[in-house]
Amino acid sequence: MRLRLWGVAFVLPALLFFAFFKYGPMGWAFWLSFTSYDMLSPPRFVGIDNFASLAADPVFVQSLQNTLGYIVASTLLITLAALLLALAVSTPVPGARACMSAIFLTNVMPIIAVCLVWRFLLHPHGLVNQLLAPFGAGRIDWLTSDTTAMPAIVMVTVWRFAPYFMVVFVAALAAIPAEYYEAAAIDGARGLRRFRSITLPLILPQLFFVVVVAALLSARLFLMPYIVTGGGPGGATRVLSMLIYETGFSYLKMGRAAAISVVLFAIVLALTLAQMKLFMRDEEA
């Protein structure tokens, strides 16, 4: 009994905190999403008006598509890049560990600095185009053309986050017993086949972890499009979190902004359900 109380006592502060700063606000957001509220006069109940008008609003639909596209693309590419980097720095090459630490530095740089730096690098006459020029690439307007702006933001995201997940993979790879590979070598398995039949199954839990966490990270993205492209050109990189801020704080439509929050919540909920399922499986294994 005494131990039970101690357990509750340890967990309670965090739960209270979340009740106050997470569940409470989300409940409030749900209520606000059914109201019209400009913060200057009291909220007025309007039923599903906000959602109905969102569904008919091309700007919202475009932001929703941008968000989903961004989540899918950046999650896949972050995972792929992290895995490739991990494989590269896990080779028995001298200095591989130092390379890993150096690559991890992209995670130490503040996001705001990342955004400002990449805005210059992706300038029509910036470093990226300068480096591509010898390969015959012409001028690419990375951030200002509606076909390349979103891919460019994804690229910056990958650059920033992949090295973090690389470290997760490195640890997983290091945990694979050497005997497995030796046995595979005797069987004549090499390269890709060895990767598919030994490495991949053994790092599967981490792979799932990375996919889910990267997706959660991407869903809340705000700063990169806000700073790097301002949501442009023509709304091509506007994501839901930006739309929430703009709708609420620029146009003072808090009810509508709350409705967008609920949609974003639904997306993240779907991602988290996947995550839950994964954690449970891990517990049982």
């Binding site: 913060m39 029509p124 006459h125």
Partner: protein, 445 residues
């Protein structure tokens, strides 16, 4: 001159300077409006000349009236309106603040700012106040027979050109002044230098980085083409024939004349005029630029004086006008009577030494008619005729409670046209629909 100014300051009679210069008689405004300690908050926007000058004047004011202290805060140009809105919603709005005059309807429709007592500002009557200011300003600041804004600066948007580059390509800076948009395009084309896909020099450059700039640059073209932002029922009409024509003109510098690089302009944000100052573009339209802005960036350009300002071109030569906009000091309707009175007093003090204002912020013109245009410092300012004409003939921005939505929608439309070769009619249809949705929601709200 220093001695005289020092003397004025010592006698705390900045206001008297105005009397000397023939402005409205200000009477004995020197006395403090209150003796009790008072703490005021005042918000403004970030600008390299205007923000420090406001700060300086307010500091001088609180030195004269030690019982009054002012908490001075400033925000990025595009953030100030948002911050004030949120401030009102949460009861943390400042007692006084400066606002772009295009945002006046946002405050007025919600009754957030207090009417001003023009007599406390030194005017005998509202008519005297009206007559002392540019009409475009009065239209925004006076509402239902009351004044709500006390103006600071108010300026048109002239065309700045680099005369050295004009001569280089055989143009005469006097004879070849572009008076119509076609002429501007032709001149810009001749001034352009390209190295492959890279513009070594753009002939002319529109701002691409912020919706406010997009709106004030598009505004006069739309009106010159006979267009309107809204019809009398409040429906957005930027997608009619005149709107399409205006956008076609806006796009022609890049599309028809190949004289600008909009992608470069946007990517080089937030420096729309830096390229002109660094001579990477030959012509640019912006609020008045003078020695204070030129010298720190390009000392040679300033020393040799090879720049010039014209009034903006028009659809035809008789329709040469630009947008005219400015900044008002306003008073929070929720501030106490005493605070409101002190703010009147402080605003009047701030604008009571227009010579000092001009020296610190030239050539940004002032909304007031009296008291400064005859100053020798003003008369000797390069290009002052063009700046004054741009101010006096300017048209104002649409004054609407959905201004933010309107400017953002237009900004997206311009980006789609300039960067993604969007179809002009279709893009404007989308923008008009967005604005109409915002209007409908405001009515419902």
């Amino acid at each position: 001159m220093t001695t005289r100014r020092d003397f004025l300051r010592r006698t705390s009679a900045g206001a008297a300077a105005l009397g000397v210069l023939g402005a409205p008689a200000l009477g004995a405004a020197q006395g403090a409006p209150t003796r009790v300690p008072m703490k005021l908050t005042y918000w403004t926007w970030e600008n390299p000349q205007q923000r420090p000058w406001q700060k300086k004047r307010i500091d001088q004011y609180t030195q004269l009236h030690p019982n009054i202290s002012v908490e001075f805060q400033y925000f990025a140009f595009s953030d100030l309106g948002k911050k004030v809105s949120v401030g009102y919603a949460t009861g943390t709005a400042p007692d006084g603040f400066t606002t772009g005059d295009w945002l006046m309807p946002t405050w007025l429709t919600r009754k957030l700012i207090a009417p001003l007592d023009v007599q406390q500002l030194g005017y005998g009557s509202l008519d005297a106040f009206r007559n002392d200011h540019a009409p475009a300003f009065v239209a925004g600041a006076v509402h239902e027979g009351k004044a709500y804004g006390y103006p600071l600066w108010f300026y048109g948007v002239p065309l700045h050109v680099n005369t050295k580059q004009f001569r280089e390509v055989g143009l005469d800076p006097v004879k070849d002044e572009p008076k119509t948009w076609e002429q501007l395009g032709e001149v810009a084309k001749r001034l352009t230098i390209k190295d492959g896909s890279k513009f070594t020099r753009q002939g002319f450059k529109w701002a691409m980085h912020a919706s406010q700039w997009t709106a004030f640059q598009f505004n006069p073209i739309l009106l010159q083409c006979g267009g309107q932002w809204f019809d009398k029922h409040g429906k957005c009409t930027i997608n009619n024939e005149a709107g399409v024509r205006a956008m076609t003109i806006r796009a022609s510098i890049a599309r028809k004349y190949g004289a600008e690089d909009p992608a470069d302009s946007l990517a080089t944000a937030p420096v729309p005029w830096m390229d002109w100052l660094k001579e990477r573009c030959a012509m640019f339209s912006s609020p008045p630029i003078g020695p204070l802005a030129v010298k720190p960036i390009n000392p040679q350009m300033e020393a040799e004086g090879y720049y010039k300002a014209y009034v903006m071109p028009g659809v035809t030569e008789d329709k040469r006008y630009s947008t005219c906009y400015g900044f008002n000091c306003v008073v929070n309707a929720n501030a106490s009577k005493e605070k409101q009175e002190v703010l009147h007093h402080m605003y009047r003090f701030m604008m009571s030494d227009l010579r000092d204002c001009w020296i610190a912020t030239a050539p940004l013109t002032l909304a007031r008619k009296s008291g400064w245009t005859e100053l020798p410092e003003v008369k000797s300012t390069p290009n002052i005729e063009a700046f004054l004409r741009a101010k006096d003939t300017g048209v104002f921005l649409p004054r609407t409670p959905v201004w933010s939505e309107l400017a953002d929608a237009l900004h997206r439309a311009v980006q789609k046209v300039m960067l993604s070769s969007g179809d002009i009619k279709q893009v404007l249809n989308e923008a008009a629909a967005e604005v109409d949705r915002a209007t409908a929601e405001l009515k419902k709200g």
